[in-house]
């Protein structure tokens, strides 16, 4: 199986879906002539032209709104945000329009659109460029939220998101764009709402999404090698819809859980998962649920402090040991 980057996997997914469906349109700042701020759309404009790959002004509220309107009429826009942090000026379009129109139209109007881009800290771009709004958006019934950890998942999930008839918030990570994974050449889709056990284990469940999955895999190696603890790593992949059964099955097997996310802890995704576990698997718990998240402050600009703000394998190991 060829090794390709997370960036290339996204690029391939876009190209394949553009070829497959004439209604798929990519739009965003610098996506066309500049080949994308992070080069995710590299070569697409040259290949598919200005009708399919559309540069937009620096005005998220306007172009996200345009995509919402287009999607209502059957276009399948894939909107790139240079950073998910910039979505905040477009929240009215995303939440009130994309998120609510299906409900408010009695199911007559749907928004088959994807909004994608990086949503991560850890790259020294400052507090206003480092937001991780997966918890905010997943709080809106009507929106779907996806956060792939590997190139394989990025490609399969993006293709499924483009074909989905509801608005899908697709959260990537600039630290992963250059990382490589094995991705098959033949076409595949990963359904939204299906988690993936990235590593089987028996003693403790490490549950994560996005780049935190890789942190958990590194922590699991340390737990096995240095402490003889067999950790299972569950990658949520999709935050909404959430694969509750996969989470519960793992906890029922290991009886312990550490929830890991690069999101902030307060009202974070893992607060929801902790609530789910205690409600539906209470009698299977042999220890309290633990969480490891970003430290609760705006994204820290000082590089040494920024490094410790995000979850590290060492922090995950420490939390795991506290309940094993």
């Amino acid at each position: 199986m060829p090794l390709i980057t997370y960036r290339k996997a996204l690029n391939d997914a876009l190209a394949e879906e553009i070829l497959r469906d004439e209604n798929v349109v990519v739009m965003g700042e610098e996506v066309a002539e500049y080949n994308g701020a992070y080069k995710v759309t590299e070569g697409l404009w040259a290949r598919f032209g200005s009708k399919r790959i559309v540069d937009t002004p620096i005005s998220e509220a306007a172009f996200v709104g345009m995509a919402v309107g287009a999607s209502m009429l059957g276009i399948r826009p894939v909107v790139e945000l240079m950073f998910w942090s910039f979505a905040y000026v477009a929240f009215d379009q995303i939440i009130n329009n994309a998120g609510c129109v299906r409900y408010m139209s009695g199911g007559h109007i749907r928004c088959p659109m994807v909004i994608r881009g990086p949503a991560n800290g850890g790259t020294n771009v400052g507090a206003t460029h480092s937001h991780t709004p997966e918890n905010l958006l997943a709080n809106t019934p009507g929106l779907k939220v996806v956060s792939p950890a590997t190139a394989y998942d990025a490609k399969g999930l993006l293709k499924a998101a483009i074909r989905d008839n509801d608005p899908v918030m697709f959260m990537e990570n600039t630290l992963l764009y250059g990382e490589q994974w094995e991705v098959p050449e033949e076409e595949y889709l990963i359904p939204l709402g299906v988690a993936d056990v990235k590593r089987e284990g028996t003693d403790i469940s490490l549950i994560a999404h996005g780049r935190a999955v890789l942190t958990c895999l590194a922590a699991a190696e340390i737990l096995q090698a240095e402490h003889g603890i067999s950790a299972e790593v569950v990658d949520l992949r999709s935050i909404r819809p959430l694969d509750e059964e996969a989470i519960l099955a793992s906890v029922r097997k290991t009886h312990r859980a550490v929830l890991v996310e690069e999101n902030k802890p307060f009202c974070g995704v893992d607060a929801q998962i902790a609530s789910l576990i205690q409600e539906k698997a209470f009698d299977d718990l042999d220890a309290p649920i633990q969480r490891v998240s970003a430290l609760d402050s705006p994204a820290i600009y000082s590089p040494p402090l920024e490094k410790i703000q995000l979850p590290t394998p060492a922090r995950v190991v420490q939390k795991a040991l506290s309940i094993c």
Partner: protein
């Protein structure tokens, strides 16, 4: 709110501590850093300091009592606490009574003893939800369990390694967690099996299978086993048996088995090394005067160990007849409980199955089990250094190292070999 004071973990390996002396009394003011008590750990006696300022409101354990790490031992009233805050807690006399009642039981975890240790318990027991669920299914009394989880919390492993409480049998089978819920019952391994497919057979546990599983898991997980092996010349024993059986045939009496002779030899060897006929009792070792040999008998769906009572005072003929009767009734399930309880030493013989050597698991609460192999013909180097054909029998001894040390076990096996190789001695 008043602050609970817990038994501190004062060494890496400390799981429980003895309160040697209270240095403060109820009502005494306490300042941070004051020594409030002296605690004896597994290693040393250490001073326990207060971490907060306040008044010692209640003392829950008395001097000399031993409790688990994390268990509440006192209550510290902080400045601003109303008298009601303290009074609302369970009053001191009640727990103190429970404590003195509990003191009658063995103080340390006595794995093979019929009852586990009874740690003093006050207030709600700290146990994980999973531990509570398994304990309820198994009929385990949580107040009798010492928690090994963080802060002394009782967790799954503390329950699965504990024998069910006596007098309160495990819940009816219907109430047991089914395998589908993933809850390990007594002896079901913590690692779940591969789920049964359409062609696989799921065999419900019989009472016997469950008891075997529970007792052997308890044995292997609480008894520090070690193993000794010795080979003996079986020729003299086989020759004696042939001579006796030749006359038995003509006189119409039953034939002796090799195992009958081994049992006689074991009883004789125990008479010389009585320390192997003993049990670990937590705070002492009990050496039994009578030799009650448990004899492992394979039955249809498991095995039972009927007891040959007072084996050392029985003749070979009496042993042979008693064992034949016990084994027959074991196979037809006609044994009375007192006939398979109270053994002090077990003999397991797989010689009839052609097994040359093996090591059985100690049959708790006993301290040793003998594993007898088949008498086999093999080349032997004799005293003159020549290789000659011989009849050899291999004998293994599995021991509880808390009771039987290597030298003691070896001494016993040496005596046993002496009787096997000179069987006339045991007829004396």
């Amino acid at each position: 709110m008043p602050l609970p004071i817990e038994m501190p973990k004062l060494s890496d390996t400390m799981t429980e501590g003895t309160l040697v002396k209270w240095r403060k009394k109820v009502g005494d003011p306490v300042e941070m850093g004051d020594v409030i008590a002296e605690i004896e750990t597994d290693k040393a006696t250490m001073e326990m300091e207060a971490f907060d300022d306040g008044t010692l409101a209640e003392i829950y354990i008395q001097e000399g009592e031993k409790v688990a790490v994390g268990q509440q031992i006192a209550l510290l009233a902080l400045a601003g606490d109303k008298p009601g805050d303290v009074a609302a807690k369970p009053s001191a006399p009640a727990p103190a009574k429970a404590a003195s009642a509990a003191k009658a039981a063995p103080a340390a975890p006595a794995a093979p003893a019929p009852e586990p240790a009874v740690p003093v318990s006050h207030g709600p027991v700290k146990a994980s939800p999973l531990a509570r669920k398994i304990a309820a299914a198994r009929g385990v009394d949580l107040t009798r369990i010492t928690g090994t989880g963080p802060g002394g919390r009782i967790i799954e492993r503390d329950i699965t390694s504990a024998p069910p409480s006596t007098g309160k049998p495990a819940a009816a089978p219907a109430k047991r967690p089914t395998p589908a819920t993933g809850a390990p019952a007594a002896a079901i391994p913590a690692i779940p099996p591969i789920p049964a497919g359409p062609n696989d057979r799921v065999i419900p546990l019989t009472g016997m299978r469950r008891v075997i599983a529970e007792r052997l898991v308890a044995s292997k997980s609480t008894i520090p086993h070690f193993y000794l092996q010795i080979e003996a010349d079986a020729e003299p024993l086989l020759k004696l048996r042939a001579e006796i059986n030749a006359t038995a045939e003509s006189s119409g009496r039953g034939k002796l088995t090799v195992n009958d002779l081994i049992l006689k030899a074991v009883a004789s060897a125990i008479a010389r090394v009585p320390k192997v006929n003993a049990a670990w009792a937590g705070d002492s070792v009990i050496e039994y005067a009578a030799v009650h040999l448990s004899v492992a008998v394979a039955v249809d769906d498991g095995l039972v160990t009927p007891v040959l009572r007072d084996a050392s005072s029985k003749s070979l003929r009496e042993i042979s007849e008693a064992v034949k009767d016990l084994a027959t009734r074991a196979r037809t399930k006609k044994l009375k409980p007192e006939e398979y309880q109270g053994g002090t030493f077990t003999v397991s013989n797989l010689g009839a199955y052609g097994i040359e050597s093996f090591f059985a698991i100690v049959n708790p609460p006993q301290s040793a089990i003998l594993s007898v192999g088949a008498a086999v013909k093999k080349p032997v180097v004799n005293a003159a250094g020549q290789i000659v054909p011989g009849q050899r029998i291999s004998i293994g001894l599995s021991c509880d190292h808390r009771v039987v040390d290597g030298a003691l076990g070896s001494q016993f096996l040496g005596e046993l070999r002496g009787f096997i190789e000179s069987p006339a001695l045991m007829l004396l």
